[in-house]
């Protein structure tokens, strides 16, 4: 037997086996950690069940969904989340894109400045929530002082005032995530070839006309991706709210007290965790959120494809 056959003989496993050996653990893990919980929770969403209760799940059909979709309190959570997502994402787009336009031209120190601006994005939301809580504090926080309030008694109580609390969360979210939008916008802006602007200058387009007809459409795909990411994140907003307000403060709306910053995820968490531990109901609510996010994502992806194909 010639010697160059040896390496092949040394491997006892066939290609097919090898592929299986690599793929099967991943697939098993996926099924165990993702697919099974997904299907099991779908099942649970049609039952009355509490994870801390030894009684078996009891099939109740669409009752849980009926409750989530008809109860005003849940609608309130969806409304808060929707309003929060709309305001926060819009502001992030404006701030992030504006920053990108400013940083598009290279100047001395622009690299360091860009890195510095990106820092908020790299922090843990729990930490951000904790220190912004101090920043918003009316007696010693820097935020009110910067706005010109020197007397803690008249300074706005951002986290305690039901009219301001959602805005406070929005401000922190914008502070934290505008850099992400800036990063994507910068990537988009720097991908626009110079010759398009040269051609536009020859074609006698004003700066505004160039911005509207060249810059904006050329970065639009990346802007849409930024909107998509940020919207999905906004709909999942949990940690910042927990760190800042815990969902409060409460506001009397009609005869019901509602928590003005209680997003869907925060409500979901409360519903699913002890003491409430309503596993069935919270599963149903989670599925409603999932459907909404998939629907929104699809809308964005569709418009993204439309832009790409024309």
């Amino acid at each position: 037997m010639s010697s160059y056959n040896q390496p092949a003989r040394r491997r006892h496993i066939g290609d097919k086996r090898l592929i299986q050996m690599f793929v099967i653990p991943t697939v098993l893990l996926l099924i165990l950690m993702n697919v099974f919980p997904l299907i099991y929770s779908l099942y649970l969403s049609f039952t009355e069940y509490s994870a801390i209760n030894p009684t078996a799940p009891k099939w109740v059909g669409l009752d849980n969904y009926r409750q989530v979709l008809s109860d005003n309190l849940y609608w309130h959570n969806f409304a808060v989340t929707g309003r929060y997502a709309l305001i926060s994402v819009s502001l992030q787009m404006i701030v992030g894109f504006s920053l990108a336009m400013l940083l598009k031209e290279k100047f001395k120190g622009s690299g360091i400045l860009t890195t510095l601006i990106l820092i908020p994005m790299m922090l843990s939301p729990a930490v951000v929530g904790a220190f912004w809580k101090n920043i918003f504090n009316p007696s010693f926080g820097i935020f009110d002082q910067m706005l010109g309030y020197s007397d803690p008694n008249t300074a706005p109580e951002w986290l305690g005032n039901p009219n301001l609390a959602l805005w406070a969360v929005v401000i922190v979210d914008v502070w934290m995530w505008s850099p992400f939008v800036m990063l994507l916008s910068l990537a988009g802006l720097s991908a626009i070839p110079d010759y398009l602007y040269e051609a536009a200058a020859i074609d006698r387009a004003s700066a505004w006309f160039q911005f509207r007809r060249i810059t904006l459409p050329q970065v639009m795909p990346l802007l849409l991706i930024a909107v998509l990411f940020r919207t999905i994140e906004a709909f999942k907003q949990f940690d910042l709210v927990m760190g800042l307000t815990g969902g409060g403060p409460a506001l009397l709306e009609g005869r019901q007290a509602v928590n003005v910053t209680e997003t869907v995820s925060v409500r979901l968490f409360r519903l699913a965790m002890p003491p409430q531990a309503q596993t069935g109901l919270s599963s149903a609510m989670a599925y409603v959120v999932l459907v909404i996010i998939i629907a929104i994502s699809n809308l964005y992806i569709r418009s993204l494809n439309k832009i790409r194909e024309g």
Partner: protein, 364 residues
Amino acid sequence: MATIELVNVEKKFGASFAVKPMNMTIYNGEFVVLLGPSGCGKTTTLRMISGLEAVTDGQILFDGKEVTWLHPSDRDIAFVFQFFALYSHMTARENIAFPLQAQGESKENIRKRVEEVAKMLRIEHLLSARPGGLSGGDQQRVALARALVRRPAAFLMDEPLGALDAEFRESMRAEIKRLHIEQNATTVYVTHDQIEAMAMGDRVVVMSAAVVQQNGTPAEVYHDPANLFVAKFIGSPGMNLIRGHYADGKVALPGDSYYAVPTDWQAAIHEVIGRAGDVILGFRPEAAHISENGPIATTVYTSDLHGSYTMLHLELNRDTIVDVRAGRGTSYPIGTPARFDLDPAMVRFFDPKTEAAIHKGGNQ
């Protein structure tokens, strides 16, 4: 339409010149080709005329009016880029309409004008396509339409055919020439392709190493090159240039041949190099004809058939090979001796020290 004047225009990048101070006038309705190898400064010159590149010194005048520091949009010019520079997110129609929309023309007027130029360039059927879906030739047609639609005072074209396949290039060359004749618009056209330059230009400006080498009609730069660079660069192959020693009305050439200098040239040669000295004899391949009694003795190095004629490569000695055009009837086997003579009206002489052409009519 406009006359474009360049007065001592120069461009420096750091300490090195991209374009050394140059003077040039492009007359109203003229088609001027800036020709040269890459890096010679021809594109920089064009971009300075357009205003896309700032001059380091000098003045640019359009119709006698100074525009040196005007923004490109204030110069009333159109620019055709080598890689089309179409707006990729717009359809061909929107691309062509762009310059008119930027000026705030009425919708009706825009539609009319776009359709006019589309018809002129025969691209009506492509108007709703995006640049990405068009062939290179069609993209350049759209770019030309965008340039034409505003009826600018001058067209500046930066190697507009450089990015096209050979088959498109020839037909587009004819289209651009035809457009120029119909529009009679002042056109400055940059290319490195001397065949293109000769075919299209009313005037060819040959540039090399940031300097204008010659500014003349295609016939002038072909038949009367100003220096060795132009002689070699224009024509394919370029002019034959043989260095020899001149004395007593004869040039001693490599391979022990003597060429008797036509009498009308002798005075000019004396004026430049004196009674005796080195001189460079130049002649185009078609200026030579094979003849048994020809004064220049060679052997056939190789020959190649070009359809209607044969190009012979003849060896004077080991270091000197010349290209000579011959009829396709006779065959010239490698290694056979061949003698040729030169048409006295078509020989040229150059000074090897300055590399400049010697002029029959007197040299300054």
